[in-house]
């Protein structure tokens, strides 16, 4: 399963990718919105884990742009806010939602649910 991780915190996202790799996922990461859109357009990913609040645009906007290129991709939103408003936004988007900091097992569970594994 190929996963794209997008978050502007490089240390966070690179380590998360490393830990997912140790669990058998083919995890790739980027810290920029352009990088995410470019990668999703050139490589085939099954799922993207997106930070809700990126400096350039929102995770929702990145999702919309990625879906133009990869309509079958699944999404999990990650946020540090954890407000009800964020939760509603994530679920309204038909996506999964996880609040920072989280246990990696919780993320793996959500990935498996999203991909029907």
């Amino acid at each position: 399963m190929k996963i794209l991780l997008v978050d502007d915190e490089e240390k966070f996202i690179s380590r998360l990718a490393e830990r997912l790799k140790l669990r058998g996922f083919d995890a790739d990461w980027t810290t920029t919105c352009d990088g995410a859109i470019l990668k999703a357009g050139t490589e085939k990913y099954d799922l993207a884990v997106l930070d809700v609040k990126m400096p350039c645009m929102s995770g929702i906007e990145i999702k919309k742009r990625i879906m133009q290129r990869a309509p079958n991709m699944k999404f999990i939103f990650v946020t540090g806010h954890g407000s009800e408003e964020d939760y509603d936004m994530g679920t309204k988007e038909g996506s999964f939602y996880i609040i920072k900091p989280f246990k990696i097992e919780t993320l793996v569970e959500k990935i498996e649910q999203a991909l029907n594994l």
Binding site: K11, R15, R19, K100, P101, F102
Partner: protein, 227 residues
């Protein structure tokens, strides 16, 4: 007058709420980095027990990054504490450059601000007698507007000009074409409280706040507790 005071109080609470939101969000980011780093260290140690080797120095670099994140969190909490103390005394002597610096650091916790660099000029005498909390709020508004209107260089330069009248804070590097009105009623109200003047000079690509050495009499005195 009561309506004005009501508006000011509501704005003040909202400003406190907003900074709390930014700070807690950033602290969660830091906790997430620490959590992932410690998780990775734990997994690498477990792997080494099975004979798997990793790059020399990896463990040290991971543990150093935990220390860096703790220092980052400490600096954010220090700023949060400084900000919280700004309401201890309604009016007092403040160093304008320190307040600008604090507001830059707080505003940079917001994601869109992370793309813009701020360059703060050295200065000697920027001490004035004013309301620290409302000055922070006005400076935050100006920084926020500067961010939205940052020019192609993505750099805002901030300098100070002080004379017998007071201190002028100049924000340079904003775009010539800016969407939206500025100052709005909110900044006008804050300027009124602080006896300040906010000006936008699009041709010079500058925004400025002129502050007197001593805050004048204004309706805000009604908020002060009676002696």
């Amino acid at each position: 007058m009561e309506k004005k005071i009501g508006r000011i109080c509501a704005e003040g609470f909202s400003f406190f709420g907003m900074t709390n939101r930014l700070i807690s969000h950033e602290l969660k980011n830091i906790l997430a980095i620490i959590s992932e780093t410690l998780g990775l260290i734990d997994e690498l140690v477990a792997l080494s027990d099975t004979g798997t080797k990793w790059k020399p120095g990896k463990l040290q670099s991971l543990s150093e990054s935990v220390i860096e994140e703790v220092e980052r969190a400490n600096s954010i909490i220090r700023n949060m504490n400084t900000f919280a103390h700004s309401v201890d005394e309604f009016i007092r002597e403040v160093d304008v450059s320190q307040i600008v610096n604090l507001m830059i650091e707080i505003s940079q916790l917001d994601s869109p601000a992370k793309n813009v660099r701020f360059r703060l000029a050295e200065n000697d005498d920027c001490v004035i007698y004013t309301s620290p909390f409302f000055l922070e709020k006005l400076i935050y508004h100006v920084i926020d507007f500067s961010l939205r209107g940052a020019g192609p260089e993505n750099e805002i330069r901030i300098s100070f000009d002080s004379d017998d009248y007071g201190v002028k804070i100049i924000f340079s590097g904003i775009a010539q074409i800016i969407i939206g009105e500025f100052p709005t009623k909110k900044e006008d109200l804050l300027a009124e409280i602080l006896s300040a003047k906010v000006s936008l000079e699009t041709t010079a690509r500058e925004l400025s706040i002129l502050l007197p050495k001593k805050i004048g009499e204004s309706f805000i005195q009604n908020l002060l507790p009676a002696d």
